[in-house]
Amino acid sequence: MNQIKDKFPEGDSFRSELNGRYRSATIGQILFLSALLIAVISLTALLYNIVDGAFGYTAYEYKKDPATISSKPLTELNQQELLDVLKANISTGAYKKLNNEQAMETRSQADLLSLILERIIRIETKATWSLTQSLFHKAEIEAEVAEKYPDAKLEFRNWLTFSFLTSPMSSRAEFAGARTAILGSLWLVGIAVLFALPIGVGAAVYLQEYAPRNFLTSIIQTNINNLAGVPSIVYGMLGLALFVRVMEPFTSGKMFGVTDSNGRTILAAGLTMGVLVLPLIIINAQEAIKAVPDSLRQASYGVGATKWQTIWHHILPNSIAGILTGTILAISRAIGETAPLIVVGASTFITVDPNGPFSKFTALPIQIYQWTTRAQSEFHAIAASAIIVLMVMLLSLNATAILLRNRFQRRL
């Protein structure tokens, strides 16, 4: 009897035990919520860290004082005066080389100004500080600059400027831009989607509409699910072995008469990314096709349509929302992937924009990787700016996906 009384307490002991259980329940709830809060705090810390790095004070020195080459401040000179300054201060050989790259008269004022800053005045960044440091520790920064770099000037710099977006690469952080990388990323995504979308939707249509329920089909399905989980660097190795080496006549363009390239082209990388996103597109398209109600199919057959007519005129138009969402998710994945591109051979320093599928290339994530792993802090600053560009691209892509999905869903 006592045993039973212990298991089912009554009266005061029951009350106290119940309160203990309520307390544990509340603690548990707080613990679970704090797990979520840790995730939220991490995201905030990440975003803060990136924005923090892209703006701040920099201390830089001139190798040559601008006052010695021009009486007016450089920003006030017009294009002809800038040209004169340039001609007077760099060697004729260098001037000819610049002219060959792009005729001097056609260059914009901003372009000429940055050339002067780069070649003649030779700005050298001595130190950079993050945004929070710049906002809250201004006096200490000024003291440090006065002590360590007496010749340097201190200026608040926004590293994410329009010229950052439109300038090509440079070995100096102050002048490097992301234009080549952005164009490279866009080319890559274009080739990847061009390759993966038709094949992916075709495979999904086959698996959902035509495939019999036999062993082969289940193997194909399991295989696709597994491919979605393969690490991206393995896809890179596949791309290196297959697209760069085995298919070199095709990817380097030798088949088409291009003579001065090897297999590490934007075409090979685009195909690699296409193979990487193919399982995602297939799985998403399958879900979209599965979601089309069977009554639509049966109605179409009922009025005498063939299988392909049903698919083309009824099933595909009704699943286009899901297929588009899947494609945009795949694009977001493809834009952010770095590892396969490193393996396939993205150049880390090229200054010419991609001008065809057989050109060498770089991509935005590759630049971010490159700049982050440099030691000087000004490279970290432009890495942060490039990250902001990448995140903005991703955000707009995902927002477009959500908008498109909502729009097409209402139509149905």
Partner: protein, 287 residues
Amino acid sequence: MIQILLFIAGILSIFITLAIVYELGKEAWLFFGNPDVTFGKFFGTTEWQPSIGKIGIWPLVTSTLITSIIAMFIAIPLGLAAALYLSEYASPKARSILKPILEILAGIPTVVYGYFALLFVTPIIRSIFGEDNVEVYNMLSAGLVMGIMILPLISSMSEDAFSAVPRPLREGAYAMGATKLETSLQVVLPAALSGIGAAVILGISRAIGETMIVAVAAGSGPNFTFNPFKAAETMTGNIARISGGDLSYGSIDYTSLFAIALMLFLVTLVLNLISQWVVQRFREKYE
């Protein structure tokens, strides 16, 4: 006719897997066929520098394991707790705010996480534990950030598993006077165990295959150590570093990369298959 085209599209995925196995296997075969390479040295020594004949795989493997274990220590408890809160406690309004945040975390490119690990987390760790004890590149920082990256994966898969547990089970527990905590831990969690197991295994597979976070933050030289404060390159980081430099086809550096990649592919494949098997075998059927 069209059916044939579609069938080819469907079969293409099998070709991709076969191509991966063939290409990786071919070069890995060359690596193991090299007279300097013996299984004894491969599994027996602890230094990895193929160009001078040191081919002990253990430094890369231990680094991969340590970073993955640190990541899972973060991702599993936090992911499960987050999933429990979202499915059992959160109001619809809270859920509509918190779920997108988790989805954003899942969508951030890994190189951005690498930047975060190197330039935010590492300085914090160094200031806590002392700059002499923690190297600039270390496994702990990479592991922590990897955990945060995997957290949304585990959270969303576990949440799907929790929502598949039928309401009557919960209601029965409440009817007997159980608190929400007791119901969550003693009724819902065990019922969803197969889904949680699958999520954990997929998370481990993701952690092992992750490249950029470790390439940026964990170090760029193989190092056989169990100390998470030290720099040590992982399998994936090694592939990224070597293939980013000068690489001549057919050299032992080149073929060794494929051997590592083949190991990675097989390990993640086995883990993914186990995860699918766990779901099928242990799923509770309620109807």
